[in-house]
């Protein structure tokens, strides 16, 4: 019995020993597959990685939610509907642009806070300068969309989130201060030293400052405080406003644009210009299409000159994409997001530098192709020419992608011809098909388009210079200044230079009007149009005209659109039943407050009635998400929302 008892005690003892041996520190676990904040931000490479992440926190090819912002949807020059431009939107409970941007600002502020605590010896001024750049970038995005917003310059904790709005003037002061901080830290970090690899450089900071200052300078000049609200009942108020500040901003815009231009590091891309640069068989098919191929520039298969992204020195700041490692994930080619309205079609100048109503070179609208003759090269780079042949994309879509070793005009296989030929359709749309941003790369399918997204490019800087100069001089600008800036852009478009003489000869034209026109044409679909119209104080007029499409009658006679058949299906191109609002009848209708832009003449199909458009002064600023107002009583809604 004693033996047995001993055995029991031994077993029991062992038993308990095992159990209690295991419990000691098992509850103290630490992550095994990630880093902890407490051991990070200790070296330059840590800060660089954090700054690299900030470069991904900007809107680029990010998917459908960004369409309205990126492509001028709902504006007067893109027929795609967009509530923001038509003035039909109502205040929502949330706003992804608000939430996302403040999320991105938090990442910026964390980096800057870690930098202020950094005790190491590495020189971290470049990533820190980039962080300042992005803090300005995000506040500027919010300023454009909402007006004055709460300025956030540190990572908030949950007890600090009830902030009032800062006025737009305070936000601007913060933006310019942050840009100055960026510029001072990026002094030695230029496109040359960074191999122009897509990182924020000194020149990018200059260019952003030019853009911001032109925006606010013209806004304060033309819109003033009318959208500010009183800051107590509604809006962000006008604290810090000075009636003369706008000239400082315009001067700064001019100065910064000049710094970028004079740096000599950038040039407009002329990659696919004339037979000497085009390596493809039948180069004449591609003459003067640089403007088209610039926006789908990828590998050598993406254009008939066999050029790659490395050939591009026009971009000042861009978001870099790569089909394998960072595809665009946006269905660009299939959806052709940047198509023109009637208004935009007529805004393109003839090669003599004159608009369609003034130029003797303009060929009218009787045939589908007639209006494309003798025009700005950008017209055919932006809009498809009826019955011309275009490569599809991918292995098979619309006949398959480009084979530059073959003359597309020489193809005779019936099924291929039918797929490659662009046949316009007037079945409810406006009859025009946009090309900008589309690819013809045979190695790309839907959502794989991966050209870089140009955040700021040299053409805009030229236009900033011209506009700021003209605004500073009460609508005057010298031919020298025009040649220094805007005429570089017009030269690529094959349009005669803008001169004081040209404008003087036509009473419907003004210098500022032509500079603004150039901006609309060159930057079409790049997300500037609606805010441009707002800062010029003319959005509520420009955006509320009817929108029209192709002419089915011209001078009282049916045009080719009415008689044309689709040769491949023997169906009429035009079906009137799809145009319940009919077409512009009897009288010419203006579509702009600027007399230099052609009126809508009888016979253009109406795609959107004027009565459907309700853009008003309140729409200059978007409504704050109502959830935010509920959560933060200090925050007041923009006026009249």
């Amino acid at each position: 019995m004693n033996m047995k008892k001993n055995k029991i005690f031994i077993l029991t003892g062992l038993f308990l020993a095992v159990i209690f041996a295991g419990c000691s520190d098992i509850l103290n676990q630490t992550p095994t597959d990630t880093l902890s904040e407490s051991v990070y931000f200790k070296s330059l490479s840590d800060f660089q990685a954090a700054a690299n992440n900030l470069h991904t926190n900007v809107y680029g090819w990010l998917g459908n939610t960004t369409y309205p912002i990126n492509f001028d949807y709902g504006s007067d020059i893109n027929p795609q509907t967009g509530d923001m431009g038509s003035g039909n939107n109502v205040s929502g409970t949330t706003d992804t642009y608000w939430t996302q941007t403040y999320g991105w600002l938090r990442s910026v502020n964390i980096l800057l806070e870690k930098a202020s605590l950094y005790k190491g010896t590495d020189n971290i001024s470049v990533p820190v300068g980039q962080a300042y750049f992005f803090r300005a970038w995000h506040h500027f995005f919010l300023l454009k969309r909402f007006g004055g917003v709460p300025i956030v310059t540190k990572p908030l904790d949950v007890t600090q989130t009830q902030l009032p709005r800062n006025s737009r003037y305070e936000v601007m002061a913060q933006i310019t201060a942050d840009l100055d901080s960026a510029i001072s830290r990026l002094q030695n970090y230029t496109v040359k030293t960074s191999n122009n690899d897509g990182h924020v450089t000194l020149e990018a900071a200059w260019a952003l400052k030019a853009r911001v200052c032109l925006f606010e300078g013209t806004w304060e000049k033309y819109v003033g405080t009318t959208t500010d609200g009183d800051g107590t009942a509604n809006g962000a108020g006008s604290k810090g406003y000075s009636a003369t500040q706008y000239t400082d901003y315009l001067t700064m815009a001019q100065t910064m644009a000049r710094k970028v231009i004079d740096s000599g590091n950038f040039a407009l891309w002329h990659g696919v210009e004339d037979a000497s640069t085009i390596t493809a068989t039948a180069p004449n098919n591609y003459l003067h299409t640089s403007y088209f191929y610039l926006f789908n520039l990828e590998d050598a298969k993406s254009n008939p000159a066999g050029l790659t992204k490395a050939s591009n020195t026009e971009s000042i700041f861009r978001s870099v994409y790569d089909v394998s490692n960072r595809p665009g994930n946006t269905n660009l080619t299939h959806t052709a997001p940047a198509g023109p309205t009637r208004k935009l079609m007529d805004m393109f100048l003839c090669t003599d530098g004159l608009p369609v109503q003034d130029s003797p070179l303009f060929q009218g609208y009787s045939t589908m192709a007639s209006e494309f003759a003798n025009r700005d090269y950008r017209l055919t780079s932006t809009v498809k020419l009826p019955f011309a042949r275009y490569w599809g994309y991918g292995t098979s879509t619309n006949g398959g992608g480009a084979n530059y070793t073959m003359d597309i005009k020489s193809i005779t296989t019936a099924s291929q011809v039918s797929q490659l030929t662009y046949v316009p359709i007037l079945q409810g749309g406006n009859g025009y098909n946009g090309r900008k941003f589309a690819t013809e790369n045979p190695a790309r399918q839907d959502y794989q388009e991966s050209a870089d997204y140009y955040q700021i490019r040299l053409a805009e800087v030229y236009l900033i210079y011209a506009e700021a100069t003209c605004e500073l001089n009460s609508g005057a600008i010298s031919d020298d200044d025009l040649n220094y800036s805007i005429n570089k852009v017009r030269a690529r478009a094959g349009v005669a230079p803008l001169t004081n003489a040209l404008v003087a000869a036509h009473s419907d034209l003004t210098l500022i009007g032509e500079i603004r026109r150039e901006r609309a044409l060159e930057l079409f679909g790049e997300g500037h149009r609606i805010t441009d119209l707002c800062r010029w104080g003319i959005a509520q007029q420009e955006l509320d005209y009817a929108s029209a499409g192709a002419y089915v009658q011209y001078n009282g006679v049916n045009t080719e659109y009415v008689t044309a058949m689709n040769p491949f299906s023997n169906v009429l191109v035009y079906n009137p039943i799809n145009y319940p609002t009919g077409f512009i009848s009897t009288v010419e209708t203006p579509c702009s407050t600027y007399s230099g832009i052609a009126t809508l003449k009888p016979g253009a199909v109406i795609t959107e009635k004027a009565s459907n458009r309700h853009f008003a002064l309140k729409n200059y600023l978007q409504p704050l998400p109502t959830d935010e107002i509920h959560l933060d009583p200090l925050m007041k809604q923009n006026p009249n929302w």
Binding site: C23, A50, T56, V158
Partner: protein, 1051 residues
């Protein structure tokens, strides 16, 4: 730690041998005292012999079992008492009294009263239970159902346990188990334990149904013993163990056929034409002239209606050709499929060693007839019980489950919503798609396969040592459990090719988009526990005490690899794709939980019952200052039927009232290391070559200041048996309160991050459950029973700081309302004519109104709903939304009908939901919700027209604004998904013993059963009542019904 354990096991083995020897010797010496031979026969109530019944001489280990004729022989001294027992029968004690032959008739077990109920860390008699615990046997749960997934079989079986599924695809059922409704905004699931070891839901779905002895559900304070993990209640699964007696071999096998129970409500050409025609006509009121789908001419649409024209999407561009075939995509994809399962169990043993071993195979697949979409499952289990010696017993379990879920990588559920103008094949027999990438057959058959294999290897041991020599009633026991879970996912995305009408390729996956990806995940879960038990009676006072300690630890690792550009369409190994494109990823984590456990039971005379339990838990997922918390419960009951005054009444065979309060906890929603601020890393591209650069960011906001959610469970219940035990019932009423709910308080977005979870919310749930069973017999041979159960629960989010604006539709959380609160606009019929429209606008069109703009083609037309301006401010805004109800299932019920006559048995099980609101979303939710898909034909003929002014649905339109106004977020748009479904009907026949005995077979039963045969439901938009998913491409499933033919054989 592990080393210790191994040593420990070696020690045990060593001692087993010696003691077994000792016992064997003892057994022999008992035999030597025998004096004469006793012959006996054991029969059942019908006089049929019972084979394998155990005969034991009381007070000894000596005994025997009956042979195939029910006979036994035994050496007897003439004055022993025999204990005769057999599974399913009440044991009997018989005194030999000098007889040399005896005959014993055993009565079938009436287990309703004396049933052993499995509870946390032990068992109890049903009579002495004080908590709300429901138990069903494995047989009751799976009765005749073709599903090889026990979790799914539990639908409607246990009152208070709701089982919802989103699909009937085997392996992808989307099952959600919920006990007594919600108790937190975080998804709190019931804790599942298989033989005491924590299991995840997949494991439950994977276990061999034939292995299950009982499923026990702890609903109230009875779950407090599981402390922090029991907020969602506890489901205890006990597997079958070997029984003393002869070795029995049981085979169960069945074959079943799945057929379509519910067709998808998509329109054919004629129906589509009629809908398009109606919509165009209605919209012409707003636009001036009719406009047809994708610019069709009226003549084309008329052609669809009359059947004269039927056109596939054209061969060239966007144009249409007449007289092409139309498509029946549904029948091209879905059809009859079949499945089968086989299970063999070998069971038996002596008083010293009892073993139960099973092997099974099952396969089942969905209705996708063109490819295999389903599961293959293999299981093995051995449970062994050792009686080592007088004071030590041990149990060991080992089981291995392997389940492979195979499914096509692309195309599941897609495409059947494309319009009929997209046939699956062109005239050349190739997969046809002119536009986009939507040929479902091409995707299903060519697009690659996803195989997910999950293996569980479970090993558990339990050793119990009786320390009665120290203190009577004292024992200790300890257990160890190891579970190795391996998950392997192999996924191929192969090249898919589609053609146009004339045979040109319109879509082909680029080679560089094809890929193979493997994911390997491994979980190593270890648990061990040690317990001290004390069980003693002092006169009429019965005391039972238990205390212990358990530790759990889980280590997780994963490995991921991917290569693109496949070299073969059939090979799925990583090596067969391009090595230069390889990418990979890892991942690992570990968590641990340490718990101290105590329980005390006391009863006086079996009348007054009391139980107290407590638990102290510490988790590695919480910061050390907030890590340890105590949970406890107290329950009690009175068996009124045992009191003299009640006995005199003679009404109740059993009557017990019971009640209690207990706390349980949860940290669901808290990650393994959430209190530690992490750095996330990634990559992005700079330069011209696609070269990657590192990126990093602070992962998310964190806090150290949080702890467990704490749920108080109050329960009052009553159990009764009346009418000579023919009717029994249970009624429970409960209140549950979560006072430390973990929520992410919503702060202004300028914070720039989601707030970390903090214990900042409150949540209440009230509910009740009842179950009644009637069983009786008519005549000698006809037995029948009827069982009904019904339950409901209602939740309220009582405190949710930082109120968020209420949105139209289903709001996951609204303070003061249940989870998934539905807010809609109230409506007052239709605008019947243009004058009504004109009159309506000025009353609701103030600034900020969401009424479609009157001066646009979107304007309201006759047949549109008239939303009510509830707050009377002259406009319709979100301020006019009103609460309608919640989207949770209510009044869930089950009805069980059983009967047997001679060899025949019949069982039917009906299950349903009394109320469940849904706002349908997706492309088929209403007509022309999306312009490019086919349409839901259910609406045809049921929408408003001037001639049908009181139609069920508003006007048919293709206008998005009008459709949003009419078909989203209105009271009349709510679907009540209530239903009653015949879940199973079983008809079986057992061959008479007189016949099968000649074949040396103990039991042979054949049966046929039907699953999901009929459904009655309130759903009027053409969907299955269980189909809660958005009716969108890729989200839909066709529900199956099945017919099973099966056999049960025991020998």
């Amino acid at each position: 730690m592990m080393q210790h354990k191994l040593q420990f096991q070696r020690e045990k083995k060593f001692s087993f041998k010696k003691n077994l020897m000792l016992l064997l010797l003892l057994g022999v010496s008992f035999g030597a005292y025998a004096q004469s031979t006793l012959i006996g026969k054991v029969t059942d109530q019908k006089g049929e012999p019972i084979i394998g019944a155990s005969i034991k001489i009381k007070g000894t280990n000596s005994g025997t079992i009956t042979d195939v004729s029910g006979l036994f022989k035994l050496n007897s001294s003439g004055n022993e008492t025999l204990i005769i027992s057999y599974i399913g029968f009440q044991s009997q004690e018989v005194s030999v009294n000098g007889k040399t032959s005896i005959s014993v008739q055993l009565n079938e077990d009436d287990k309703s009263l004396d049933e052993v109920i499995v509870v946390g860390y032990g068992t109890q008699r049903k009579t002495s239970l004080t908590g709300a615990v429901a138990q069903v046997s494995g047989t009751e749960a799976i009765n005749g159902k073709s599903s090889t997934n026990v979790a799914e079989d539990l639908q409607g079986v246990i009152p208070g346990l709701t089982v919802t599924r989103t699909s009937s695809r085997p392996g992808n059922e989307g099952l959600v188990l919920k006990l007594r409704g919600d108790i937190s905004v975080n998804s709190v699931s019931p804790m599942i334990l298989i033989d005491g070891m924590v299991a995840d839901q997949a494991e439950f779905a994977q276990i061999n149904p034939d292995d299950i002895e009982t499923i026990s559900v702890l609903k109230d304070a009875s779950a407090s013993i599981y402390g922090t993990r029991a907020a969602g209640g506890v489901i205890l699964i006990t597997t079958k163990r070997g029984k003393e007696g002869k070795v029995q071999v049981t085979y169960s096998g069945s074959y079943h056929i799945n057929t379509i129970s519910h067709r998808f409500p998509v329109a054919n050409a004629s129906q589509f034409g009629q809908m398009d025609e109606q919509a165009a006509t209605n919209d012409a009121v707003a636009t001036g002239s009719p406009s047809y789908f994708i610019g069709w001419q009226k003549s084309v649409v008329d052609g669809f209606i009359t059947g004269g024209l039927s056109t596939p999407w054209g061969a060239t561009g966007l144009h249409l050709y007449p007289n092409g075939p139309t498509s029946d995509q549904f029948n091209d994809v879905y059809g009859d499929t079949s499945g089968q399962d086989h299970s063999i169990t070998i069971s038996g043993g002596s008083d010293k060693l009892k073993v139960n071993t099973s092997l099974s195979y099952a396969s089942d697949r969905s209705l996708e007839k063109v490819v295999f979409d389903g599961t293959n499952k293999y299981t093995f289990r051995t449970n062994a019980d050792y009686k080592i010696n007088k004071w030590a017993t041990a149990q060991f379990n080992i089981s291995y489950d392997n389940r492979q879920v195979s499914t096509p990588t692309n195309g599941v559920g897609q495409g059947v919503q494309d319009p009929f103008i997209f046939p699956m094949y062109n005239p050349l027999g190739e997969y046809y798609d002119q536009f986009g990438y939507n040929n479902i057959l091409a995707k299903l058959t060519e697009g690659g396969t996803t195989n997910a294999t999950t293996q569980y290897l479970r090993m558990g041991g339990n050793l119990k040592i009786d320390l009665g020599f120290l203190l009577k009633g004292l024992s200790i026991n300890g257990n160890v459990g190891v579970k190795s879970q391996n998950y392997w996912l192999n996924q191929t995305n192969s090249q898919v090719t589609m053609y146009d009408w004339t045979g040109n390729i319109t879509y082909q996956t680029t080679p560089s988009s094809t890929n193979i990806a493997d994911t390997y995940q491994s979980n190593m879960y270890k648990t061990y526990g040690a317990f001290v038990n004390y069980l003693r009676s002092f006169n009429e006072h019965h005391i039972s005490l238990m205390g212990g300690l358990t530790t759990e630890d889980n280590q997780y690792t994963q490995l991921y690899g991917k290569r693109t550009t496949m070299s073969s369409t059939t090979l799925s190994d990583l090596n067969t794709a391009s090595a230069s494109t390889a990418t990979n990823a890892g991942g690992s984590n570990e968590w641990a939980l340490v718990s101290y456990i105590a329980r005390a039971n006391y009863d006086y005379k079996g009348i007054y019952l009391l139980e107290a339990s407590g638990r102290r838990d510490g988790s590695s997922k919480l910061f050390s200052d907030y890590r340890w918390k105590d949970f406890g419960g107290l329950t009690g009951g009175i068996r009124l039927s045992e009191m003299n005054f009640m006995k005199e009444l003679g009404i109740f065979d059993n009557l017990k009232v019971r009640g209690g309060y207990g706390e349980t906890g949860s940290i669901s929603g808290i990650g393994n290391y959430d209190y530690i601020s992490g750095i996330s890393t990634g990559t992005t591209v700079f330069g011209y070559t696609g070269a990657l650069s590192n990126t990093s960011w602070v992962s998310s906001m964190t806090t150290t200041q949080r702890t467990w959610e704490r749920i108080g469970n109050s329960n009052i219940g009553i159990d009764f048996n009346v009418l000579k035990n023919r009717l029994d019932g249970t009624i429970d009423v409960y209140h549950r309160q979560n006072s430390d709910m973990l929520i992410q308080v919503v702060y202004p977005a300028i914070l720039g991050a989601s707030a970390p979870y903090t214990n900042s919310g409150d949540f209440n749930t009230d509910g009740w459950e009842m179950a009644f069973n009637w069983k009786d017999k008519i005549g000698k041979d006809f037995n029948y029973n009827i069982g009904v159960s019904l339950a409901n629960s209602q939740s309220v989010v009582t405190s949710y700081p930082a109120k968020v604006a209420i949105a139209a539709g289903t709001n996951s959380v609204v303070q003061g309302k249940p989870l998934n609160a539905i807010y809609v606009y109230r409506t007052d019929g239709y605008l019947q004519n243009p004058a009504a429209v004109t009159a309506y606008y000025p009353t609701v069109n103030g600034t900020g109104s969401i009424v479609p703009v009157q001066s646009s083609t979107n304007l309201l037309t006759p047949g549109c709903l008239k939303r009510i301006d509830l707050n009377g401010d002259g406009k319709i805004t979100t301020a006019d939304l009103s609460y309608f109800g919640d989207a949770n299932p209510h009044y869930t019920f089950g009805i069980n009908l059983g009967a047997s006559f001679k060899g025949f048995d019949f069982n039917a099980f009906l299950q349903g939901v009394g109320q469940q609101y849904l706002l349908r979303s997706g492309y088929l939710a209403y007509p022309f919700a999306a312009s490019w898909t086919n349409q839901n034909s259910t609406f045809l003929g049921n929408t408003w027209t001037a001639g049908n002014p009181n139609a069920a649905f508003p006007v048919m339109s293709t206008n998005g604004s009008r459709n949003t106004w009419n078909y989203q977020y209105n009271d009349v748009n709510i679907v009540n998904c209530s239903y009653i479904r015949v879940k199973s009907i079983v008809l079986g026949y057992s061959l008479p013993k007189s016949v099968i005995r000649k074949m040396n077979i103990d039991k042979l039963r054949i049966y046929v059963s039907g699953n999901d045969l009929f459904t009655l439901s309130n759903v009027k938009d053409g969907f299955d009542p269980e189909d809660q998913a958005a009716a969108s491409q890729g989200n839909v499933d066709v529900y199956a019904r099945s017919v099973t033919f099966g056999v049960n054989l025991t020998f």
